[in-house]
């Protein structure tokens, strides 16, 4: 990459600041929406309060048109020179299996990764047990898949 603005590691000097500010706004959104509270997610899943539809739906409705327009433009992102493309993963049985396992976990605890990080920020210290669990799960699936592959 011959970007004249690139830093010593080849990254644009504004790359990390943008990621950080994006993370800040993301965290504010999770706090404002109260999705960082497991109780709010559980109320949604138990059909007590459907407001969470506006969180995921609102975010997807903002992201969707921008992703499509940028992809159609054929242009590259200014800070990385990456070509804009849509987030489309291969549809296979893992997508279904992972969704089922994630769903059971989400239903038990009311926590998902992004909301769990934000939950630390709102002072919810017991969430650290949930985040520890996520690391254990992510590590365990890696070990298990290596064993299954051999």
């Amino acid at each position: 990459m011959s970007d004249p603005g690139a830093g010593a590691d080849g990254r644009h000097p504004l790359f990390m600041p943008l990621i950080f500010v994006g993370g800040l706004v993301f965290g504010v959104g999770l706090a404002v929406s109260r999705m960082a509270r497991p109780e709010v997610v559980l109320d949604f899943l138990q059909f007590e309060d459907f407001g969470l539809l506006f969180v995921m739906g609102g975010a997807a409705l903002v992201a969707g048109p921008v992703f499509h327009l940028a992809t159609r433009s054929g242009k590259r992102a200014p800070l990385t020179d990456r070509v804009y493309d849509l987030r489309r993963k291969t549809l296979d049985s893992n997508v279904l299996l992972g969704g089922v396992v994630f769903g059971v976990g989400w239903g038990i605890s009311g926590i998902c990764p992004g909301a769990a990080y934000a939950s630390v920020g709102i002072g919810n210290w017991p969430i650290l047990a949930g985040i520890a669990g996520m690391f254990v799960g992510a590590y365990g699936q890696g070990v298990a898949r290596d064993l299954l592959r051999d």
């Binding site: 790359f15 407001g51 987030r87 926590i111 909301a115 769990a116 949930g130 669990g133 996520m134």
Partner: protein, 159 residues
């Protein structure tokens, strides 16, 4: 039971909508600047690459992204903290038991990694991209989670 607005949305919708729009705005800002559709759960594996020598976690895609994913996650924590401190919102501690959080967390860790994404990666970026894999994954985890939460409710597990 009438399905009126107050029944479906007993706490109103405004804060949900504003929060969702902010999350969408953050996703779009990162995407337009970097071309990256940022999800929150890859952070788990990319951070494991700092401490595990396993080939699975030492994949290039984890090692080269682990720095910015750490920064993204720190931003999420600090953004939520700053909002709570500045808005006068009460600090919040859940009443969901540590056991539930841990067991649920383990399954979330397995499920998001096997399923290639989570509520943000599939739910926002993937659904926004109209990806068939993401639409199937999200429909699956929402339905399964609702079923699981109802089973726990029926069993009297609370909170």
């Amino acid at each position: 039971m009438a399905l009126d607005f107050a029944t479906l949305f007993p706490n109103g919708v405004l804060h949900y909508l504003v929060g969702g729009l902010l999350i969408g705005l953050a996703t779009v800002a990162i995407y337009l600047g970097t071309g990256i559709a940022a999800g929150a759960s890859t952070f788990l594996e990319s951070t494991l690459s700092y401490v595990s020598d396993r080939d699975r976690f030492q994949q290039f895609r984890f090692v080269q992204s682990r720095g910015w994913r750490l920064v993204f996650t720190a931003g999420i924590v600090l953004g939520a903290a700053a909002y709570t401190a500045l808005s006068g919102d009460d600090w919040f501690v859940t009443e969901v038991s540590t056991t539930r959080l841990f067991v649920g967390g383990v399954l979330v860790g397995v499920g998001t990694r096997v399923g290639k994404g989570c509520t943000s990666g599939h739910g926002i970026c993937g659904v926004g991209s109209l990806s068939d894999a993401s639409l199937l994954n999200v429909a699956t985890f929402v339905l399964v989670a609702a079923g699981t939460a109802h089973v726990l409710l029926a069993m009297g597990v609370s909170p």
